[in-house]
Assembly symmetry: D2
């Protein structure tokens, strides 16, 4: 063992690893017996990796360099989760984490779990004492989300419910909420009741029509303040010797972020 490495720096059977050959040849997999990683740059017998430390370089059967990396959250989000719905991307999720004031220990409500991509990120940042409560009306999505949480060993930090949030939320005194459903104006009352005093909520919405409709509904509801809307863009810069330039490919839009905070309605105000 390389000096300075501890036991869990060493690849074992059932370890998650990322094999990295180059930007376009990155693969997440679980080390298991008799399994072979294959690519157009050659193969690697996974048995041969057991006992090596993360960060090591090996050679494929075609004598090409490959590195053994310990997967990070971003690797799982890009390569390791199953997607059955449109997801919220890291460029938006990162900003949302900060807007929602999330911290270890937070209790978060998620309305519209989808593939569980957002649930994973929330769980990662609230563990070990916080929790995510996810509502989803399509049962098959819950199964996918649950499986994705298990891939990252985050399942104990999230409870996914096959329930329609429009009909009520079980939790209360929630620290923050994220709503990713097509008709968020229909959950304003249960959402309001679930939130702690002055807690923030973020709505994620793809269309201008939805922005107009939600803003009108929130304005009428009177239980929210500091209403804002943002959109983010991410552009990759390609790094090659003698040619550093923004990438031609760019995602032009996924959704708008609407932010608001709960206040006491008039009837709630202390005299």
């Amino acid at each position: 063992m390389t000096p300075g490495l501890s036991k869990n720096d060493i690849i074992e059977y059932s370890s998650n690893i990322m094999i990295y050959i180059d930007k376009r040849r990155r693969r997440l997999l679980k080390v298991s017996k008799d399994k072979i990683f294959s690519s157009d740059r050659g193969n690697i017998k996974l048995d041969d990796l057991v006992g090596l430390s993360y960060g090591s370089r090996v050679k494929t059967s075609l004598n090409i360099n490959a590195w053994l990396l310990k997967p990070l959250l971003i690797d799982y989000l890009e390569l390791g989760i199953k997607r059955v719905t449109q997801i919220i991307y890291p460029k938006d999720l990162g900003l949302i984490l900060i807007l929602l004031g999330i911290a270890p220990g937070s209790r978060i409500l998620e309305i519209g779990v989808g593939s569980g991509n957002t649930t994973i990120v929330l769980a990662n940042f609230v563990k070990p004492d916080g929790h995510v409560y996810g509502y989803e009306i399509r049962e098959e999505f819950i199964r996918v989300a649950q499986s994705n949480l298990e891939t990252l060993n985050l399942n104990q930090y999230a409870t996914l419910k096959y329930r329609d949030a429009r009909e009520g939320i079980d939790e209360n005194n929630i620290d923050a909420a994220i709503v990713d459903i097509p008709d968020p104006w229909n959950v304003l009352d249960p959402l309001y009741n679930a939130l702690r005093y002055t807690a923030p909520v973020v709505f994620f919405l793809p269309t201008m029509n939805q922005i107009l409709k939600l803003f009108e509904a929130i304005s009428k509801h009177k239980g929210f303040i500091d209403i804002r809307c943002y959109e983010t863009f991410l552009r990759e810069i390609e790094l090659s010797p003698e040619s550093i330039r923004p990438s031609t490919a760019m995602i032009g839009h996924t959704g708008y972020i609407v932010y608001a905070r709960k206040i006491f309605k008039d009837s709630d105000v202390k005299a």
Copy 2:
């Protein structure tokens, strides 16, 4: 006390509060005796707020509505910290949190602390068991950063050092690093040594000249892989009845994000 509210939902002397009148009239302050909040929309005697619950609405001396909000991380970042340097904005910090795989318990290295804006965000997400180790060569910035950390009660999660990282880093097995100095190519060796196997680092750089120089230095160093570069944009959408539209004002650029991960150099590879 309104039913359902616990003791720490109640404003006391020395509580931090945000008084919210409208988008342009938001103020963070600490409640203290005989202090008066004053604005062009009227004044509020802070003594009168003691005993009220967060989320309540009060009237200013000009009979204008004002709400009492519990400040969130984003409120401190926007209104509550002292800035003596250019800072990294939430649009970038959020993405960086995810790129760096930060989680509660992470041990983070920060080279170039500046005003401590980044330190605050890192500390918020690694607490209570993680820690931020910050290096800064301008002593006056450390005082500002320390004071900002204290404003958010995050000081126990960060250690700020008046030290030149180019001359060495005390820590090792660091989980992730963020480097925000003008000449990051000069810290590659100490940075490399401080990082845990396959740990990620993010460099934040404003100019194209720096991107070219850093990319060349990292490429020659041979100790990093999966080198990427991103830039993010944030556009606010203004919400008014009958006029929902992107804001005219937009920040066109703060800096580029360069990402890389440590690998073992050839000499380190297990035979």
Copy 3:
């Protein structure tokens, strides 16, 4: 006279010139007797410039370099026209020129003249045989626009009318139209009648609410096809030795461009 220069390369009394000291010190003015250009970098007596050729360098009274440039369209747009309304910027006008298939000789309809900024650009590109017909309901704007056209000697290529386009357009067989008013859905019929078969029109609109309303109205009208919507962004890159970087300041939004082309309505189709 420098060899190769013709008579109109020489600055005379009443010539338009741009005095250029540096990026932030550029000034458009008309050379006249006894007039003095003054700046924090020194003064220049305009009488002294008569007889010099464009492109020459002179010294201010503080011995600072200043160059004498012949103003281009972009200089007039940036520095030389009076603005009494929000204008359409070159980033959008340039794309619009191409979308509208404008060429020398085109006959263009402009609904909503405002300060005449757009009129100037259109007139510049259709002269000498084409023409711009501008409708404007605020008489004081017509005076400003007329004056701006005169500054660029483009007034003979545009006819500005103090008229409400919603009540009808005098012209027909128009090659292309640009509509820059808050309620374009109210001019669809007169616009349709004025356009030549298959001619294009561009609407410029700042808000999402307007986009939704216009799209609904055009869809119902049935006289237009190939309906598209765009928005453009322009970012300046600051060029300094050792520091080339996108500018911090950026305009996030002026308006959306909606494009459509006339078709014959069902009743118009040749059997």
Copy 4:
């Protein structure tokens, strides 16, 4: 013939037309005998279109609506020209037209003709009295560009030369220039000599490395002033009933626009 239509509003043999079924089914073609337009929405015999007016609606063999549009410049750029090189897009070309102060009658130098896409746009805006002089070192590209100019009947307004501009430019007193080659720093002297006093030039460059190198070369050359750099973005907004939203697909980058204007070098200055 529909009243109000003139002879050249009628489709004849050898007319260029655009058949428009929907956004994804637009086709440019020349009407000729026995030719059939075929698509997954049905066929159209082109002989049947002769005598119809532009703007008419016809039915395909599958009874689907199709409209007969007269092609505009944008249609040729999107659908009608052969591309053998990366081209400059309308979002950039439009801005360049305005930056260069192009107008009917302008004499323009183009260094690096490529597929002739830019030549077409320039020729369209300088005709009938202006001219484009294009230099290209790859003979096969000249043939493509010439053919593209002929498709739009613009060939008499452009002269394409199989010549290396680095070795000299034949023309002088040029009103404006556009340079779209990988090594523009190698043509600064011939370019300078060809330009009229205070005339502008635009360089189009994809990489940051090129921006740095060009800016250094222009700064040393001393013959140019008002040096600026821009980049533009274009985002399409998708228009559907109940779902108006920015498109997911977006081009993140094609190139940077560098702008500069000729001044007399010190030796040229009139005493």
